[in-house]
């Protein structure tokens, strides 16, 4: 296969830390090498498709709206009432075809750019753009939200301490520039990281 060129390939190498002196308050990294499959169902096949999705990810059950679940083979995000996103390593086999009456799968691996935001000031940085309550009690690890970032619809979730953003690929560089500019006040390090299943998932 050819080399993948992600949306931020040309943007995330600042080299040194930038902005406020001292330890960086924010780390911004593009996560690469993942596959993203949308699994959609119909109202009457919600349980059936959820179970199938959970089986693929090897997690106990498919997550409820606004939640994610991690398993040994991937992570499931409930992004809409009838839709999950399955995030796995890039080279996994496509999931088995579903009968149209059961549901629909769709590859969105290149449609979203994944940005991980970490550090002491991560939630503050995001709140410069996102009108969401990100306090730990309101948005604990495992939470998923669809929200707006500078007019653009994005998906946000929290895994452990990090916030994860799935940005539409075409908008990713523009939104990344805003994040990097605003993060200067906290001190920022940028980079790229290859996708790995998060620790603590049910292996």
């Amino acid at each position: 296969m050819a080399d993948q060129v992600t949306a931020l390939r040309a943007y995330h190498d600042l080299g040194e830390k930038a902005g406020r002196p001292g330890p960086a308050g924010v780390t911004l990294r593009e996560v690469s090498g993942f596959s993203l499959t949308q699994i959609a169902c119909w109202p009457e096949t919600l349980t059936e498709v959820g179970a199938m999705a959970a089986q693929v990810a090897e997690c106990t059950e498919a997550p409820a709206p606004g939640q994610l679940a991690s398993g040994a083979q991937g992570m499931l995000l409930r992004v809409e009432p009838l839709k999950w996103w399955l995030i796995r390593e890039a080279d996994r086999q496509p999931i088995a075809d579903m009968a149209a009456e059961v549901g629909a799968a769709l590859d969105l691996s290149s449609a979203r750019t994944w940005v991980r935001v970490e550090g002491e000031d991560a939630s503050m940085l995001l709140n410069h753009f996102l009108p969401l309550d990100l306090r730990p009690q309101a948005f604990p690890p495992g939470s998923v939200a669809s929200t707006a970032f500078h007019h653009v619809g994005i998906t946000l979730w929290r895994s452990g301490e990090a916030f994860e953003l799935a940005l539409p690929r075409s908008f990713a560089a523009s939104l990344w520039e805003l994040l990097v500019d605003s993060a200067q006040q906290y001190g920022v390090v940028t980079g790229e990281v290859a996708y790995e299943l998060e620790e603590g998932s049910e292996k």
Binding site: M1, A2, D3, Q4, V5, T6, A7, A10, A18, G19, R20, Q38, A40, W42, L82, K83, A100, E101, A104, L106, D107, L108, S109, S110, A111, R112, M124, N127, H128, F129, L130, P131, L132, D133, R135, A138, H150, H151, V152, P168, R169, S170, F171, A173, S174, L175, E177, L178, D181, S182, Q184, Q185, G187
Partner: protein, 983 residues
């Protein structure tokens, strides 16, 4: 006023002297000073000039209500006008200037306006429209245009910089259980109470220090310090230098945080300000109260201040603001100030408007009872105060007191502004002579002196109790009031028949006479009074003058104040910089930019980009020395001769999936999609409900229940929303999911006679694009030589043999490298939007320029695609008689009669000799056609080209150029049979 810095005392840091400049003079202050206190300590008295009359003005207060010391700070692009010196923190190197004066505020030639004061009364501006008496009577003025400039020059405030704002601003969102606005005794107690009860609390204070009135009281410092530490320990998020400027629906508050306005050399990584949107479960407004003045002659003179500000300058800034001080009061609040000033060495006389004070007379202070200020004498320096005593319903002169400082307390006005933003009606409390906020049906609560509670102890109790209420607990806040003897309501002092300039709203130079004039002329409603006199419309928004203005109008009408009413306060409480509103949505980020997966690759190939909706798309790829015109003609010609490659990734792409997907598309498109075979694409047109064309594009059937719809670049979002709406609201029974996959795919169009060879060279199975395997409008999955999986469709926008090749976005550059290498072998080119336009105009293919929302499918020449056999959206309404008229403008091709000439896009098409009105049609697109060798265009004209056979039209563009004779032809100007495309 002969102010001097005391050797000790105050909260300033005498170990940190700061140098700053005032009107070019270098002066020194201390850390902890405001610009106002530093100027006062340096003996500067005249700091501003008034709006209309250019009267000298000095410091009138110590807070946001300041109406005299209004100055410009900063230099160059950072010059900011109309800054209240009382709110500007001093820093090393601060540059400040007086404004609205020439040559300077001390000697201002504009002061000549004062002599014409009687012509500049309320409404003079409007009256200038009526015409010069006698000469222009009754027909309005023609001179207006001449003297408007002069008036605008003479009046006004500071000037903003003309340069672009060099600073950054951030927006920010925050959430809390309880938002406390105001860090005085009540606010601190409220924040502490809520935080100790486990609530998440944000405390907002506009000052740079917490404490409110505690900052003015050295005796309260220990308590203040302890309280502030407790608040911080309790986990309250404290935001100083932050103003809550507005309250909105659902517990939303707008804040402006001044991050670096107080720093002499702010770091480049810091924003200047942050604009916060706070969503709070409950809001406690401990916003304090502002002291009012009284209207009397010369009440705007330098040396006349509110009483409590005298205390602030003494105790907070260590300045004795005068040597011989008169404290004119109507209530008990000024007595502490008088005593402290006397103790600090000033000679202090209290002019008490009541017959007896309600509290003990402080040591060393002289008391005169039953007198009120009548006229401040002096010009730029106060010399004496003439007093008056009541005489029946009016006043009579009662002697003169020499003084260099006059402190006035006409009572206190609780800051109810933020509650007013929520629609809470202020209610007049006659006993306290002030407006209090009425009940609010939202969780917004008033605490402390903002609720009319006057004593320190009661304010603290109020903070505690109101915090409990905000938490939904039982509470018992103290009642408003707290003085032992009542206030004597006093708004104006004047002698009958004597003229005096007594100011109601000093910032806008509104006098008592102006209010009476408004009444005489019939502007008696409080809303009319405001607009006619501009009372309350200056940068302080009526903080100083509103109550006095209402009182005067009430008197003129013979009514009580509540019967006159009050205007509602609107946001912002204090001015908000435009930059803070804009945040980071400026320059290249005014709108988010969309980049295709090939964006950087295109740039590396020398693309010049152009906007297409939010996208940047290649416009043209100029070779050495080529202009736009050279480049696009070469590109279009190359496509027709060999092959060209164009990035079409920005086309909208929507996955339509589900057992009812075919049925859904069949309802959305005018033509049939139910029987589209797997592996086939079809061009479709969708209409709006009103029968007008909405969008067009090809839709590909990938599987039985799996379609890929393409839309135009600019309509992609609209179509997506439309499809979602149809599925959710109109046809919820259809089992269809639509998902935008625009961003998933990198797409290119490979067009031209050599396109098959180029594409085949990049595929594992070159035969998969043979004419037999992939006929015209065929769609198939493909594998590139490097293993990348994608989709290919044999569709053409250019009219040539052409393919659209899609791979996942991350593989876009790799695909492009392979195609480009293969195309080079055929002397192919990259082409941009301009050449794409040329190719489609030659073919008569429509885009957004033709499908502009006003045309029907028949107008666009695509009537054959409107099915008669099935229903579809827009079918009924496109049958409206008006849309059936034979003379409706229809899509046509346009050629200049003289083939060497050109004409303009947007020109009107007219009958010869009838170049007027709307004409018979219009030109939508023009290009130079390399295939035909001359300029061509598309457009709409009444009846279509059949009606214009043998008849010339005129392309008229009276604004930009000469009329041009044109021939009206079929829009299919090149290869009308489509031989090349099917080849």
């Amino acid at each position: 006023m002969t102010a001097r810095r005391l050797d000790q005392g105050g909260r300033i840091d005498r170990a940190t002297p700061l140098t700053f400049r005032w009107d070019g003079k270098e002066l020194t202050g201390y850390a902890g000073d405001t610009l106002a206190s530093a100027l006062m300590a340096n003996g500067e008295r005249v700091l501003g000039r008034s709006f209309k009359y250019h009267r000298p003005r000095g410091i009138m207060s110590a807070g946001v209500e300041e109406s005299g010391a209004i100055v410009s700070v900063g230099q160059g692009a950072r010059q900011e006008p109309n800054v209240k010196a009382t709110m500007q923190e001093l820093y090393e190197g601060l540059e400040t200037r007086g404004q609205n004066a020439w040559p300077n505020v001390r000697r201002d030639l504009g002061a000549v306006n004062g002599l014409f004061g009687r012509f500049l009364a309320a409404g003079f501006y409007y009256k200038t429209f009526m015409g010069v008496p006698l000469f222009e009577w009754g027909r309005g003025t023609g001179l207006w245009m001449k003297y408007e400039t002069l008036i605008r020059k003479a009046a006004g405030m500071g000037r903003a910089s003309r340069e672009a704002d060099p600073d950054q601003y951030d927006h920010a969102h925050a959430f809390c259980d309880v938002l406390v606005v105001g860090g005085g005794p009540a606010g601190l107690r409220a924040a502490l109470t809520a935080a100790e009860a486990g609530r998440d609390v944000i405390l907002v204070e506009q000052d740079f220090e917490l404490g409110g009135d505690l900052l003015n009281d050295p005796a309260g410092e220990a308590e203040r310090g302890a309280l502030v530490r407790s608040v911080e320990r309790a986990g309250v998020r404290v935001m100083t230098r932050t103003t809550a400027f507005g309250l909105y629906d659902m517990g939303v508050a707008g804040l402006v945080e001044r991050v670096s306005d107080h720093l002499s050399a702010p770091a480049a990584y810091l924003p200047r300000q942050r604009f916060w949107t706070v969503r709070a479960g409950a809001t406690v407004l401990a916003t304090g109260a502002l002291e009012r003045s009284v209207a009397f002659g010369g009440n705007d003179r330098p040396g006349v201040m509110t009483a409590n500000s005298g205390r602030s300058y003494l105790n907070r800034y260590g300045i004795l603001p005068g040597e011989r001080i008169v404290v004119a009061t109507t209530n008990d609040s000024a007595y502490v100030t008088a005593g402290e000033l006397a103790a600090a060495g000033a000679e202090v006389t209290i002019a008490e408007a009541r017959n007896a004070p309600g509290c003990e007379l402080p040591a060393g202070v002289t008391l005169r009872t039953g007198v009120a200020p009548l006229k401040a004498e002096g010009r730029s320096k106060l010399r004496a105060l003439r007093l008056a005593r009541p005489n029946g319903a009016g006043w009579q002169a009662a002697g003169r007191e020499a003084c260099d400082l006059l402190l006035v307390s006409g009572g206190w006005s609780p800051v109810v502004n933020l509650a007013s933003h929520r629609g809470v009606k202020p209610e007049w409390d006659a006993e306290l002579a002030c407006f209090l906020a009425g009940d609010c049906d939202e969780p917004v609560y008033m605490a402390g002196s903002a609720a009319g509670v006057w004593t320190r102890e009661a304010c603290e109790t109020s903070g505690v109790e109101v915090a409990k209420r905000a938490m939904g607990l039982a509470s018992n806040p103290p009642a408003a009031g707290g003085w032992t003897a009542p206030i004597r309501p006093l708004y104006e002092v004047r002698l009958p028949g004597r003229k005096a300039k007594a100011f109601v709203d000093p910032q806008h130079d509104v006098t008592c006479s102006d209010v009476r004039l408004a009444h005489q002329e019939g502007f008696v409603s409080v809303e009319h009074l405001k607009r006619y006199t501009t009372l309350g419309m200056a940068t302080d928004q009526g903080k100083m003058g509103n109550i006095i203005g209402l009182a005067l109008m009430a008197e003129a009408l013979g009514k009580e104040i509540p019967a006159v009413g009050t205007t509602r306060f609107r946001p912002p409480y204090t001015p908000v910089a435009i930059g803070a509103l804009a945040g980071r949505n400026v320059h290249g980020h005014f709108k988010p930019l969309r980049r295709t997966p090939l964006h950087d690759w295109n740039l590396r190939q020398g693309a010049t980009m152009t906007d297409a909706g939010l996208w940047h798309r290649p416009w043209y790829f100029a070779g050495p020395g080529e202009t736009l015109g050279d480049a696009y003609v070469r590109e279009a010609a190359t496509v027709r001769q060999t092959v060209g490659i164009c990035d079409v990734s920005s086309l909208g792409k929507i996955a339509v999936q589900g057992p009812d997907a075919a049925e859904f598309l069949n309802r959305v498109y005018t033509n049939g999609f139910a029987k589209l075979a797997i592996g086939k694409a079809r061009y479709g047109i969708m209409l709006r409900d009103d029968g007008m064309v909405m969008d067009d594009g090809t839709t590909w059937r990938i599987g039985e229940a799996d379609f890929l719809m393409t839309t135009t670049t600019t309509n992609a979002g609209r179509v997506m929303v439309w499809l979602e709406e149809l599925l959710q609201l109109r046809w919820p029974e259809l089992k269809v999911h639509v998902t935008s996959v625009t961003d998933q795919w990198a797409g290119v169009s490979v067009a031209g006679p050599k396109s098959r060879a180029v594409v085949a060279a990049c595929l594992r199975d070159p035969d998969s694009v043979s004419h037999e395997t992939l006929p015209f409008m065929g769609v198939a999955p493909v594998v590139l030589r490097d293993g990348t999986e994608g989709l290919i469709a044999r569709i053409s926008f250019s009219g040539e043999l052409a393919f659209e090749l899609y791979v996942p976005g991350n593989y876009g550059e790799a695909m492009m490298e392979q195609l480009w290498t293969a195309a080079a072998r055929h002397e192919g080119c990259l082409y941009g939007l301009e050449a794409l336009g040329t190719l489609r105009i030659e073919k008569g293919h429509v885009t957004g320029a033709e499908l502009d929302g006003r045309v029907t499918i028949r107008d666009a020449g695509l009537g054959g695609m409107a099915s008669t056999k099935k229903p579809y959206i827009g079918k009924a309404l496109q049958e409206r008689p008006e849309l059936q008229r034979p003379d409706r403008p229809r899509l046509v091709g346009i050629l200049p009669k003289d083939r060497s000439k050109t004409f303009n896009g947007g020109a009107l098409l007219c009958k010869p000799g009838a170049q007027s009105g709307f004409g018979e049609g219009w030109v939508t697109a023009v290009t130079h056609s390399p295939a035909l060798g001359h300029w061509i265009g598309l457009g709409y004209i009444s009846g279509g080209h059949d009606q214009w056979v043998g008849q010339l039209a005129i392309a008229a563009d009276p604004v930009r150029g000469e009329p041009v004779e044109v021939e009206i032809v079929s829009p299919h100007m090149f290869d009308p049979e489509g031989v090349r495309m099917h080849g």
